[in-house]
């Protein structure tokens, strides 16, 4: 199969070729790869691509997948509109927010 046509990260359009190119260049750390390629930084936050990337990195480095540290999954769990968040803040009122704006 053509590595350039195998999409690993759907949100950011990162292919298997992109991942392998990074590995060849010596970037074999999931955290650094994420920050250089943006894989896992889109709307799904790596729910699809992270295990695939970790698998690639593990086999490149010759280590077991279960021995690899999983990057932090950050909130929110699903994308939320800024407008909704602001409404929640305003509904509660300044006093309950304990802060000045």
């Amino acid at each position: 199969m053509n590595e350039e046509e195998i999409i690993i990260c759907r949100c950011e359009d990162i292919t298997l070729a992109d991942i392998r190119c990074m590995l060849q260049a010596g970037v074999d750390d999931v955290e650094e790869m994420k920050r250089l390629l943006r894989c896992g930084m889109g709307p799904c936050q790596g729910r699809t691509c992270r295990p695939l990337i970790m698998q690639e990195v593990a086999s490149h480095r010759g280590v077991d997948l279960e021995d690899m540290k999983v990057p932090v999954f950050r909130p929110p769990f699903i994308p939320v509109k800024l407008g909704l968040l602001a409404e929640a803040y305003e509904r509660r009122g300044e006093q309950d927010n304990g802060q000045t704006s």
Partner: protein, 383 residues
């Protein structure tokens, strides 16, 4: 692996990697950078990524302007395969009352005298620069078209790769656990893989952990760390070129070349410490503050939030230089939230200082001794 190095740099962020490169460029290639995690894991990779020359103190304008100039040609100078993403869409600094505007006028005068092309703009002009801005609460703004933002990961990586090509040894996932001092000299550093590396000089570039690292050498510095939170939205077509900042609300808001918006906001009630968890309160608060000024952002979806640490000094200015009574120990710490944007210039100056070269600018006023002498430096324009 080498058991001796001329210079040991503690911290693999912008300061550590850029200083390693600048040292190597001056011929000092026997350098090891120790990073306890991955590169940029401390403050650099968590920062808001803005680069502005619009400061209220000559020293800050010069450090930021120098960094800006370095960033403009950094891809070529470092022969970087990627792109550091330096995007000079400008910075629009908002004024909400006359006294703020008065201070900004003074700042602009100073900035212009140092070559920075900033200017005051009317409310109407502000609305031309950022058409979706709510002009109602504004009294004016300042704008500098050379300001912008750069990608902290790629910028740091560009420096790290260039440093490696010149012979610098960069060791990630290697923590310095102690600094050995004998009399008034540095002997070397111990690492968590139980190695002792003797070295001629040490540079503390440990960002949020600069205090504990200084203590390893028996040095007390008046710094503390404080969490600051950020969020990023889904990417959309580019419609905001400049970074928009408000000292009034304490927020900054940029749209990256990639299309996502990055929003950050300081919380005056944040306790000191090393906490880098995130809070839902932040998400709501920053949404409320930013939407009051940039209402159309309401439809954007937040995809991720994170936090990082400011390393803060009593005057919110960095500590650059050595320590009396301890030779060969240097610090570039306490950037108080603007280390990335002054990093490239600071690194150049630190390398010049450590190799005894002539320095491009005088930074002696940023020494540790200023706190004892009571010579604190007050910058009026901190977010």
């Amino acid at each position: 692996m080498a058991r001796r190095a001329e210079v040991a740099i503690i911290g693999g962020g912008i300061i550590g990697c850029a200083t390693a490169y600048e040292l190597a460029r001056l011929g000092m290639t026997d350098v090891i950078v120790f990073e306890k995690n991955y590169l940029t894991a401390g403050s650099t990779g968590r920062c808001g990524a803005g680069v502005r020359q619009q400061w209220g103190l000559e020293m800050n304008v010069r450090l930021a302007r120098g960094s800006c100039k370095i960033l403009e040609s950094l891809n070529e100078d470092l022969q970087y395969d990627g792109d550091i993403g330096f995007d000079q869409g400008g910075y629009l600094v908002l004024a909400f009352d006359d006294s703020q505007m008065e201070q900004f006028r003074k700042n602009v005068k100073l900035q212009n005298s140092l070559g920075t092309p900033s200017r005051t703009v009317s409310v109407d002009e502000a609305a031309e620069i950022v058409p979706h801005i709510n002009t109602e609460p504004l009294v004016g703004a300042t704008f500098c078209p050379e300001d912008g933002h750069a990608d902290p990961f790629h910028t740091t990586m560009a420096y790290a790769e260039a440093a490696r090509r010149l012979g610098v040894d960069i060791r990630t996932y290697t923590e310095v656990t102690d600094i050995e001092v004998e009399g008034d000299r540095i002997r070397g550093v111990h690492t968590d893989d139980e190695e002792f590396i003797s070295c001629g000089m040490v540079l503390n570039a440990a960002g949020p952990y600069s205090g504990p690292v200084a203590q390893m050498a028996g040095v007390e510095i008046p710094v503390y760390s404080e969490r600051h939170q950020i969020l990023v939205t889904e990417p959309v077509n580019r419609y905001q070129k400049p970074m928009v900042i408000s000292f009034q609300h304490g927020f900054y808001c940029q749209q990256t070349p990639h299309g996502s918006f990055i929003l950050g906001l300081g919380d005056p009630s944040e306790p000191k410490g090393f906490n880098i968890e995130t809070s839902w309160q932040f998400m709501e608060h920053v949404a409320h503050s930013v939407l009051s000024v940039l209402p159309p952002l309401a439809d954007l979806r937040v995809v991720r939030q994170w936090s990082g640490l400011y390393n803060i000094t009593p005057d919110a200015q960095p500590i650059l230089g050595g320590v009396p009574g301890l030779q060969d120990y240097y610090m570039a710490v306490g950037f108080s939230g603007h280390g990335f944007m002054v990093g490239p210039m600071t690194a150049r100056l630190m390398a010049q200082m450590m190799t005894g070269e002539d320095m491009d600018m005088d930074i002696s006023m940023l020494d540790l001794g200023r706190f004892d002498r009571g010579e604190l430096i007050h910058e009026p324009s901190v977010v």
